[in-house]
């Protein structure tokens, strides 16, 4: 895991995927209903 994080590009991708996933979940399970 540590060696994976040693690459900035890999760290960037992991963080972006995590962020987009979190945003998708927030939208699908909460934001969409709250804003209806």
């Amino acid at each position: 895991m540590k060696s994976l994080l040693d690459s900035m590009a890999v760290y960037w991708c992991i963080l972006l995927l995590f962020s987009l996933g979190a945003a998708g979940l927030v939208y699908v399970f909460w934001l969409k209903e709250a804003l209806m």
Binding site: K2, L5, W12, L15, L20, G21, A23, G24, L31, L35
Partner: protein, 355 residues
């Protein structure tokens, strides 16, 4: 849920506080207003488009004051540079808006404008990425040789050209340690202002790279000085919007509460990192904003037929805010670990300040 009487909608308070905090953090760190994130987010929350713009500009003006005060304390503002540039920027924005109206009158399509703005953003992203990557490599090389590296290193030679233009009057920017013709600074302000006014993109996106790559300021000074400009331009925009009835002051109030904390954290976070780290975040912000805006525009141009495009545009806007905040937080986290001699990823030491 809070009843926003002026906007005529109901929205959760904590969403606004959270938006203000995240955008404040990013804005305080890279020196941009963050309108590209706030306006679409407010529209997603149900605010009408004109109201979203008004709330956005007013909140940006307030947030920039907080961030500017903090950057002043950190010594990141060059008043001479900022004041010399602000006049040119205002003139440029006016020229950009007039140019936009002219192109509309001759029937230049939205597609052409979109292509131009995407081209500029992608070009800036690529240049910033390549230059910052070179600077990071250079820092790593110098560190390996046992040499001390300061908090800034830029490999661009363009500032040398602009600083060599000896057109009277010459200004001495003591904080930025630059001696340059005032006309160069004013012209850079006009050029960046025109692009911002014409393409409708935030000025900070273009001004911060321009201050670094054309004027030759350090990234920290560029961020602080740009925020000073946003106070002036945002304040003017806020007054115009308020007079036009486009501002729900309660929404601004809740966003400013979040931004007060976010902007201070973002500003203080700059003292933990070297210039290239800020430029990296700026370039990521550029490309993610471009993709988000592109998705939104394709959705609008397709007469709102493809709902999945709207879904991806919203997810991208929210995800971008989360991503940038997490990246800034992780940089500070790793900087603190590095100071205590603990393990950090191999790319961190060249991007953070040791003490």
């Amino acid at each position: 849920m809070f009843d926003f009487i002026i906007a005529g909608i109901q929205a959760p308070i904590f969403l606004l506080v959270l938006t203000g905090m995240t955008v404040g953090m990013v804005g305080g760190f890279i020196g941009v207003g963050g309108g590209y994130m706030v306006t679409p987010a407010l529209i997603v929350f149900g605010f009408p488009g004109y109201m979203a713009s008004g709330i956005d500009v007013t909140h940006i003006a307030g947030k920039s004051v907080v961030a500017t005060i903090r950057h002043r304390q950190l010594g990141n503002i060059d008043w001479v540079l900022g004041l010399a540039m602000v006049g040119g920027t205002m003139m440029g924005v006016e020229m950009g808006v007039r140019l936009l109206n002219y192109t509309k009158s001759i029937g230049l399509s939205g597609i052409a404008l979109l292509t131009g703005s995407v081209g500029i953003m992608v070009g800036l992203f690529l240049y910033t990425q390549i230059e910052t990557h070179r600077a990071q490599k250079k820092i790593q090389e110098l560190s390996r040789e046992g040499k001390t590296v300061g908090r800034e290193l830029s490999t661009s030679n363009i500032p040398k050209f602009f600083q060599s233009i000896s057109l009277f009057p010459i200004i001495r920017c003591h904080v930025a340690r630059i001696v340059i013709s005032m006309w160069v600074v004013v012209l850079v302000g006009i050029a960046t202002g025109t692009l911002a006014g014409f393409f409708g993109v935030g000025g900070g996106f273009i001004r911060v790279p321009a201050l670094v790559y054309m004027v030759g300021a350090t990234t920290h000074i560029a961020v602080g000085t740009d925020l000073l400009e946003i106070v002036v331009s945002g304040g003017y925009g806020a007054l115009r919007h308020y007079a036009s009835g486009n501002v729900d002051i309660m929404a601004v109030f809740f966003m400013i509460i979040g931004a007060m904390f976010g902007a201070q954290f973002g500003s203080i976070a700059t003292s933990y990192v070297r210039g290239p780290a800020i430029r990296y975040i700026l370039s990521y912000s550029l490309i993610l904003a471009t993709v988000g805006a592109f998705l939104r525009l394709v959705y609008m141009l397709s007469a709102q037929r493809y709902e999945f495009l709207n879904f991806f545009a919203v997810v991208f806007t929210l995800g971008e805010m989360i991503f940038l905040c997490l990246f800034i937080l992780s940089l500070v986290f790793f900087a603190v670990r590095h100071r205590h001699g603990k393990w950090v990823p191999a790319w961190i030491p060249s991007l953070v300040v040791v003490s």
